[in-house]
Amino acid sequence: MLDWGKVAFFWAEVAQNFTRNVAMALTAIGTIAISIVLLGVFLFLRASFDTVMKSVVGQVVIAAYLRDDLKQPAIHHLTAMLQADPRVDSVRFVSKKRAMMNLRQRLRGQMNLNVINTNPLPNTIVVHPVDPANVPPLAAEIKRQPGVDIVNYGSGVTEKLLRAEAVFSAVGLSIIVMLLIATSLIMYNTIRLTVFARQREIRIMQLVGATRWTVRWPFVFEGVLTGAIGALIGIAALFAAYRSLVPKLAVNVPFVPFSMSSVPVQHLALELVVVGILVGMLSSMLSVSRYLQTA
């Protein structure tokens, strides 16, 4: 059962250590805050880049041009069949009459289409996929349907776009993982130094009869608190930078392909706090264990 008296004692120990070793506590918190800022900037950039890539790739559609001899019931059947496909998000039918109207509208003032007596444009089914990665196989299947003449989905360009997205995603993830390891090591070493400075204290605690967990808990609580405060300061700095920089960047460098406003910043902030707390807690536990003697 949880012993609240002991929990209160541990927190009192943490508070005492924070207030009496201010310089050391601030050093650890500062280092964690800087690490969190670094990690946060990269997580933010990656999330922005991902959003841009997804929106670009998300614009890929399949246009199925139908033969003129395909009758209305067959067109309905084909549309219904595509709508029922789980890989398909939405299906839109564009009649040849509507296609001509659209073309006339687009070319108004540039070209006189009245000279053409017939309508050479085909009836078209426009398919929006759920996942752009499914576009090539889906297009191939549509092409095999009777009455479908030509299927266009920007073949070649789409595949390149999909490959580029996969490469960028993998590279981004590797950078984040490496950065996570590097910042965790920086935080671990900082906390280890603060524990190292108190190894005499740990020894004395054990000599007066403290159990290993009685020695360990205040350090673990301290690690959690250091990690949380460091992360919150880091996040506050990131938010301040975000609020002042993003609107300026959007106005001054609109060509930069980062979608700043569509990134889930609250979600990122939560991730950073969790990283700070976890690394703080584990670093403290590992560091104290090094100096606890079992003899």
Binding site: G5, L207, V208, G209
Partner: protein, 229 residues
């Protein structure tokens, strides 16, 4: 109460600290461990609170074999065996009160118990008026009194003192030894490692001499050197 049977201790670096030590200390005894530096006095004390494990032989404290203790039991042994060091080993970031209270709090004592026992113990060792000061603000003698208070607050059965007067002037040394004698008179078994000849000769308690880790003399109401006085 404390029994050593053929105890030998060899450190991992090959140093023979104790050789075939057999010793019996009854409850309430006051015993001096004498001998020059490096003869094994501190090692013998460290065996009793399980800071080190003998490589041979057996030690029992209150009938409990120390070899059979699991790592998790050691803190509970240490609450029965108080230790006082030459360098005091006080926690510098805690006040005198907090140093003494800490030894009590780690045993799970409630705040009412702490508020009752800490001032009483500080009173006993004569530094109640310095309870809010930090160790570095005290004299050597006062720091040693604080360390004794910390060792006493859990009412230990045994008090191990490793050169308790080693860093103190003669007058303060006498005061500290008088304090230890008073504590012993209340029933606490006392083992004092020292090479303070004046103190040993004046108190005339049991004297055990160690030379190269072996007991060469064990004498009731003894003196520091044989054949004097």
């Amino acid at each position: 109460m404390i029994v050593f049977r053929d105890v030998s201790l060899v450190y991992p670096n090959g140093v023979h600290a104790l050789s075939d030590v057999s010793l019996s200390i009854t409850r309430g005894d006051f015993m001096f461990l004498v001998g020059s530096t490096g003869q094994g006095k501190t090692s013998l004390l460290k065996c009793i609170n399980r800071e080190v494990r003998p490589t041979e032989g057996e030690i029992t404290v209150e009938g409990q074999s120390l070899a059979e203790l699991r790592a998790g039991d050691i803190p509970f042994l240490r609450r029965k065996v108080g230790v006082v060091f030459q360098d005091f080993k006080l926690l510098h970031q805690k006040t005198v009160w907090e140093n003494v209270a800490y030894a009590l709090q780690v045993t799970g004592a409630g705040s009412r118990d702490v508020l009752r026992r800490v001032p009483r113990t500080l009173e006993l060792v004569g530094i109640a008026h310095k309870s809010k000061m930090f160790p570095q603000e005290l004299s050597g003698g006062e720091q040693q009194r604080a360390a004794i208070a910390r060792a006493l607050v859990n009412h230990p059965l045994i008090l191990l003192c490793d050169e308790p007067t080693g860093n103190l002037d003669p007058e303060t040394s006498s005061e500290i030894m008088a304090l230890l004698a008073r504590i012993n008179a209340k029933g606490t078994t006392m083992l004092v490692a020292t090479h303070n000849q004046a103190v040993v000769d004046r108190m005339r308690k049991r004297v055990v001499r160690l030379v190269n880790g072996r007991i060469t003399r064990d004498e009731e109401r003894g003196r520091y050197h044989v054949g004097l006085g």
